[in-house]
């Protein structure tokens, strides 16, 4: 018996590859990205404090989406990409 696969789909065209540059986690600027749920900031606060034990944290900054339920806006993503070498995302509920 031949059936049609209910999961079948064609891979979307495009899918640009991003060239990753090396990051030095000991010195480079890092964005701490919150998904805007209440506990995400708490988690990121803890990460920043722990990083502070081994490196300077004056170039580790917090950023958050306007809404937990919406994707990050393009201008925020571009801002983070332009100003930081790494980003840590918290999706803590």
């Amino acid at each position: 018996m031949r059936i049609v696969n209910p999961t079948f789909g064609v891979a979307a065209a495009g899918g640009d590859k991003v060239a990753l540059k090396p990051i030095n986690w000991a010195t480079d600027a890092i964005a701490l990205m919150s998904n805007s749920k209440p506990n995400a900031r708490e988690l990121l606060d803890g990460i920043r404090a722990k990083l502070g034990a081994t490196r300077a944290v004056d170039n580790i900054d917090f950023h958050y989406k306007n809404s937990a339920s919406q994707p990050a806006p393009k201008d925020l993503i571009e801002k983070v990409a332009a100003n930081y070498r790494g980003a840590l995302l918290a999706i803590a509920d």
Partner: protein
């Protein structure tokens, strides 16, 4: 040999229905209830129904694959649809793919939201969609299977597998199916699709990522003013996404309640205005921690009150159901929209 996921047509050998259901469950294709077998012949009958609608589908998030009409139809067959339902199912799929519907967010969230599917216009009668008594419930093949087909597409094409990409904490029975028709015949105002700019003769599918219907029982009020007090009390819910998620919500008024409101001079616009004013949540009903979060994330109370939705236009009004003194409130995920799509004929 290609992996099963890469093959549009699969030869599964000789299998009876029970064996197919075991096979489908192993593949992760099932919502837990028995499935029809999506044979090539059955799928072809469904696809034939939408041959005039050649608009391509965009990639479906979160899996980001472009479905074919055949793969969508396979889900409609498995759900138990009749071929004539398929244009409604594809319209519903196009609705959830509206970028403002936020399909990725609504599928991946821990919230319980599921797609609410409402059918308006002549297709309701042509397909036997229940718009009257028990319209949210069991007993009608069109309601049961159109909503189910969309759920299976989101599972199989979008990839919203429970516990994996679908991260809902508790889920919601509406994830099996939540499909009903507007009761236009007993709507004393304008049918919903006409409110949205469609012609009365158009058949339209409306989708919103919502919770299940919350009952609004009012046997005692004999005035429109009294009914709106009850409705607003049911809507003022500190545990819904309406305060910080904002976004749309539906009030689906039962015909008897609608007749009382109409008699007392209420219009769709005045009902929205009144409900928005009266459904505010007093800060005494909100925890200190939540109030602090709302205040620091742009949802500061207006005096001692928090509003639900952004403004009255977030409250969408329609009429459905049969005799009885009940209406329903359907809050949404919040970061979503109410999408309407004309059914291709």
């Amino acid at each position: 040999m290609k992996d099963i996921a890469e093959q549009e047509v699969i030869d599964i050998g000789d299998m009876d229905v029970e064996a197919f259901n075991e096979f489908a469950a192993e593949q992760g294709w099932s919502d837990g209830m028995p499935l029809y077998v999506p044979t090539e012949e059955k799928v072809a009958k469904f696809v034939e129904r939408v041959r005039g609608d050649n608009r391509p589908f965009p990639p479906v998030p979160p899996r980001q694959v472009v479905p074919t009409l055949q793969s969508l139809a396979a889900n409609a067959v498995m759900a138990g649809c009749k071929p004539e339902y398929f244009p409604v199912v594809t319209a519903a799929m196009r609705g959830v793919l509206d970028p403002d519907y936020n399909l990725h967010g609504t599928l991946a969230t821990t919230h319980s939201c599921a797609p609410m599917v409402m059918i308006s216009g002549p297709a309701r009668m042509e397909l036997g969609v229940n718009c009257g008594s028990n319209c949210f419930g069991q007993g009608w093949r069109a309601n049961a299977t159109i909503g189910r087909a969309l759920g299976l597409m989101l599972l199989n094409v979008a990839g919203a597998k429970p516990g994996e990409m679908d991260r809902s904490t508790q889920g919601n029975p509406a994830k099996f199916t939540f499909c009903f028709g507007e009761n236009e015949e007993e709507n004393p105002w304008t049918p919903y699709h006409v409110q949205r700019g469609f012609a009365p003769t158009d058949s339209v599918v409306t989708v919103m990522s919502g919770e299940g219907p919350h009952n609004l029982n009012d046997h005692g009020s004999t005035t429109g003013d009294g009914l709106l007090t009850t409705f607003a009390g049911g809507m003022a819910n500190p545990g819904a996404n309406t305060i910080y998620g904002k976004g749309p919500m539906f009030v689906i008024i039962g015909p008897e309640h609608a007749a009382t409101l109409k008699r007392d001079g209420y219009t769709i616009e005045s009902i929205r205005e009144e409900l928005w004013k009266r459904s505010r949540v007093h800060i005494s009903r909100v925890s200190k921690e939540n109030l602090e979060t709302y205040t620091t994330t742009g949802h500061k109370p207006d005096g001692d009150w928090l509003t639900i939705g952004r403004d009255p236009s977030d409250i969408h009004i329609t009429v459905a159901g049969g005799p009885g003194k009940h209406s329903a409130f359907v809050p949404s995920f919040g970061g979503t929209t109410v999408a309407c799509v004309r059914i291709a004929t």
